[in-house]
């Protein structure tokens, strides 16, 4: 079982990202569950969402306490949340940002992608509220190897309410641009 | 027969209403106007007791009993269910007292009217909770004694004015709203028939005297009802899709004539009767203005 925790802000698409990821894995005949932690969700407020992926039916329904990967849709959350809390040894941290935004001495694999720039370039969201979820999923596909980029694109085609081509471009660009520290 | 009242009786004899009950006359007239393709729903009220004990039924049409607050929702469900079955020609009637309409049922009533179901809501207004033994409702008029507005040393009779639900319904934009009286059955039946022409929500408030609750003799039910109209205490009006018309009384009759034959007003002093006369005059002026006269 592979467990992913998403951190974002309301309106950035963290919950949708967790669903798209689940959908992509489902397309590869995996069992998936995905759920947000619902607080008083408002635009801008920190949001957490979870996705589990396994080859067999998933029974565990608690929140994810020891994730294999953590995805940050907004690097400013680094000040607010303990990103690596419970992260498994050799776990993956993927950050929407630039190299140097986050340092880890604990052996975690840290990856960066400037999802905000990619989203803006593809006119996803508006300049004050870019929607970065598809870009970050493209990067996640590359650095995790859990779900193929084709499944990711296919999931986005199923779920995106609009701007399908722009979202697919964002996935592809992030897939190319993501860097591991 | 020298009367226009339909002969057909859809309410039967043998019911358990008090002698001289105005509420049974209201039901009798409404059903005469609507005919047998009718379904009635009643909440907790005198009318839940009038049909008598199970298995007795007093109406020749189906009758759905509901909890107190539910009349508006009850008729909504019946209407939509019948429509789904293609029974669009059935009349669906909520028949509730003033407590079940002005107080506990107002929310469900207002919502049902707003949703626009093709239903009748008949409020039989006996101006207090009569089924439970004469407690004050929002529809009890100023000056009336009830068991919860008793004549005591520090607080006597109801000090607040009557909440007129028909006025609220007009303000809400219900397509057909009317007030009626059991003393004027031809007018009452005409109004129900006018309402029937409209596919949408209809609201009619019928003043229905209660001999034990108003402390008048049972033979005076019609007389009291008639005086309520003649003294303008309970003006009769019809609001039909924006057209408002008020029934104008021919002569001035002082409210005292209406009050003095009812024990519930027996304690009133001269200045209090004058105050009631002023309320009545003000409201009459208001209604005249509304009509544009």
């Amino acid at each position: 079982m592979y467990e992913i925790r998403f951190h974002g802000r309301g309106g950035q698409g963290a919950v949708t990202a967790s669903k798209m990821l689940a959908m992509a894995a489902f397309k590869e005949n995996k069992w998936v569950t995905t759920f947000p932690f619902y607080g008083t969700e408002r635009r801008g407020a920190p949001v957490t969402a979870f996705t589990r992926i396994d080859n067999v039916k998933i029974e565990l329904r608690s929140q994810i306490y020891e994730p294999d990967a953590v995805i940050l849709l907004d690097k400013s959350l680094l000040k607010l949340v303990n990103v690596t809390e419970g992260l498994k040894p050799n776990g993956l941290v993927l950050i929407n940002g630039k190299k140097g935004d986050f340092e880890s001495n604990n052996g975690f694999k840290v990856a960066y992608v400037d999802a905000t720039s990619i989203a803006l370039k593809n006119h996803l969201g508006d300049p004050s509220h870019p929607i970065v979820n598809t870009a970050i999923l493209g990067a996640f596909s590359k650095v995790s190897g859990i779900v193929s980029v084709d499944s990711m694109k296919s999931a986005v085609r199923d779920i995106s309410p609009s701007k399908i081509n722009e979202n697919v471009n964002a996935i592809e660009e992030a897939y190319e641009e993501v860097e591991v520290a | 027969m020298p009367t226009s009242i339909p002969k057909q009786e859809l309410m039967m004899s043998g019911h358990a209403a008090c002698a001289g009950c105005g509420a049974v006359l209201a039901m009798r007239y409404v059903l005469k106007a609507l005919g047998e393709k009718t379904v009635v729903s009643v909440p907790a009220s005198c009318w839940a007791v009038i049909p008598g004990n199970y298995p007795a039924e007093v109406l020749k049409v189906p009758m759905v009993y509901t909890p107190f607050a539910a009349t508006g929702a009850s008729i909504s469900g019946i209407r939509e269910g019948l429509d789904i079955e293609g029974k669009e020609d059935y009349n669906v009637v909520g028949f509730a007292g003033d407590g079940g309409t002005a107080d506990i049922g107002l929310q469900a009533l207002s919502a049902a009217m707003e949703r626009g179901h093709n239903v009748f809501y008949i409020m039989y207004d006996n101006e207090a909770y009569m089924n439970t033994g004469i407690q004050r409702s929002g529809s009890t008029p100023f000056g009336a004694w009830t068991t919860t507005t008793p004549i005591g040393k520090d607080r006597t009779f109801k000090k607040e004015k009557k909440k007129v639900v028909a006025d609220i319904m007009m303000a809400q934009g219900v397509p057909y709203v009317a007030t009626a009286s059991v003393a004027f059955p031809e007018d009452l039946i005409r109004k129900v028939k006018n309402a029937k022409e409209i596919k949408g929500p209809k609201f009619i408030q019928i003043l229905s005297p209660c001999p034990p609750g108003w402390y008048h003799n049972s033979e005076d039910t019609i007389k009291v009802s008639r005086l309520a109209v003649e003294t303008r205490v309970f003006p009769l009006y019809e609001y039909n899709q924006g057209q408002f018309s008020l029934y104008k009384t021919s002569k001035f009759v002082p409210v005292e004539e209406y009050l003095k034959i009812q024990g519930r007003f027996a304690h009133l002093k001269e200045d209090e009767i004058k105050e009631i006369q002023n309320f009545v005059n003000e409201r009459w002026e208001f209604l005249l203005k509304k009509e544009g006269n």
Binding site: F35, Y38 | A56, A73, E80
Partner: protein
């Protein structure tokens, strides 16, 4: 038998319920939105708006009116549905009695959510547990698949001529309602074939103008009617078993029925659970089994009627039993605990513990289950609060 094309989709519990309503050929929906049930109402409204379901949907102003209009629509002979949660269930409490007493086989989907104060929108079964005496059958779902299947099965059981009682189908807030997971969409024509049309023997009929619920004095058949409701509730136990078998044959499904026994064959210690909490319980059972511990789990699906006989059969040979309550009652132990203990009275000497867990959405974790199984091995019949006060 025709070959079944299996369609599996990812959907939330709320979407699964809405899909179940469509498959059950519901013709009338009346509902009032409340978190976390809202998505059911929105999904159904969208289906109606796009003609994907042949039903009338009315947007009422309260849960009381939702249940009142659902009731009267059902009286006209139309299969009717509503959904609610938490305070909405409490607000319609009066109508729940009225619907059951009128013997109307209405179905309501309930998303289990806590009751305030303080405000809390998360999972907790107090809202439906406190309705156990209204005459409604209750089924608690563990997965989104069950959330869908229980709608079809639920109407079938409720409308059985020997039952004629309403049913509520429960799913936990967020843990199912907002969790997406794969669900097999039952074949539409098979579903129609299975469910058939509602045939209410006492529906509104001008030729037989019945009174529905008129005044009954003490010497009228009031007690007899209540006794008949209770008898019917017990008859429903067999009907659930029969209908579960038919359902599973029809759809090649594995709906468990009244209860589910998980790794109980040789178990020494077992926990009784209800709803989505059971999944993490099963996960823990597997984990403990790997360590050689003989533990098992009994999941109650139908809480009303209460499957006393099935539980008695399952617990034979245990050394310890624990009952989980995700609801709170004051001045007595948990509601499910009480029902289990009453059912087993004088029939076993196994010590039975009570665990209060997961109120107000408090997460139910693997280590909580580990603690509970540990507690069973320690022995005794105490009551314990799990994961409180930062423990």
């Amino acid at each position: 038998m025709k070959a079944q094309n299996i369609t599996r989709e990812i959907m939330t519990g709320n979407e699964a319920v809405a899909t179940g309503v469509k498959l059950a050929r519901v013709k009338f929906i009346s509902a009032y939105p409340i978190t976390p049930q809202t998505a059911i109402v929105e999904k159904l409204a969208e289906m109606v708006a796009n003609n994907k379901i042949n039903a009338k949907f009315i947007e009422v102003e309260s849960e009381h009116s939702a249940m009142a209009s659902t009731m009267t629509s059902e009286i006209t002979g139309i299969r009717s549905f509503t959904a609610s949660s938490s305070h909405g269930i409490l607000y319609m409490h009066e109508m729940l009695h009225w619907v059951a007493g009128s013997r109307l086989p209405v179905l309501m989907a309930v998303v289990n959510r806590a009751i305030g104060p303080p405000w809390n929108i998360w999972a907790d079964q107090t809202d439906s547990i406190t309705q156990r005496d209204t005459g409604w059958m209750q089924v608690y779902c563990e997965s989104n698949q069950e959330a869908m299947d229980s709608i079809l099965l639920g109407y079938k059981v409720a409308e059985n001529k020997n039952v004629m009682l309403p049913i509520m189908s429960m799913q936990d807030a967020f843990t199912l309602s907002h969790t997406s997971e794969p669900v097999i969409i039952r074949d539409e024509s098979d579903a129609y074939d299975y469910i058939g049309d509602l045939n209410l023997p006492f529906s509104i009929d001008l030729k037989n103008p019945l009174g529905y619920g008129s005044l009954m004095p003490p010497d009228g058949p009031f007690m007899e009617l209540k006794k008949d409701m209770r008898d019917s509730m017990y008859r429903a136990l067999d009907v659930v078993k029969e209908e579960t078998k038919k359902f599973n044959d029809k759809f090649n499904a594995d709906f468990p029925g009244l209860i589910e026994n998980f790794m109980m064959e040789d178990a020494d210690y077992a926990l009784i659970t209800m709803g989505s909490m059971s999944s993490t319980g099963k996960y823990t059972v597997r984990k403990l089994r790997e360590k050689g511990m003989k533990v098992g789990l009994i999941r109650i699906l139908f809480y009303r009627p209460f499957p006393a006989e099935e539980i008695l059969k399952s617990i034979r040979g245990l050394k310890g039993l624990g009952v989980l309550d995700r609801s709170i009652t004051f001045g007595q132990r948990g509601a499910v605990y009480e029902d289990v203990v009453t059912s087993l009275y004088n029939k076993t000497d196994i010590p039975i513990k009570n665990y209060i867990i997961g109120l107000g959405g408090r997460d139910i974790r693997v280590k909580d289950y580990e603690r509970m199984y540990e507690g069973l091995m320690e022995g005794g019949d105490s009551m314990e609060w799990i994961n409180v006060g930062g423990k």
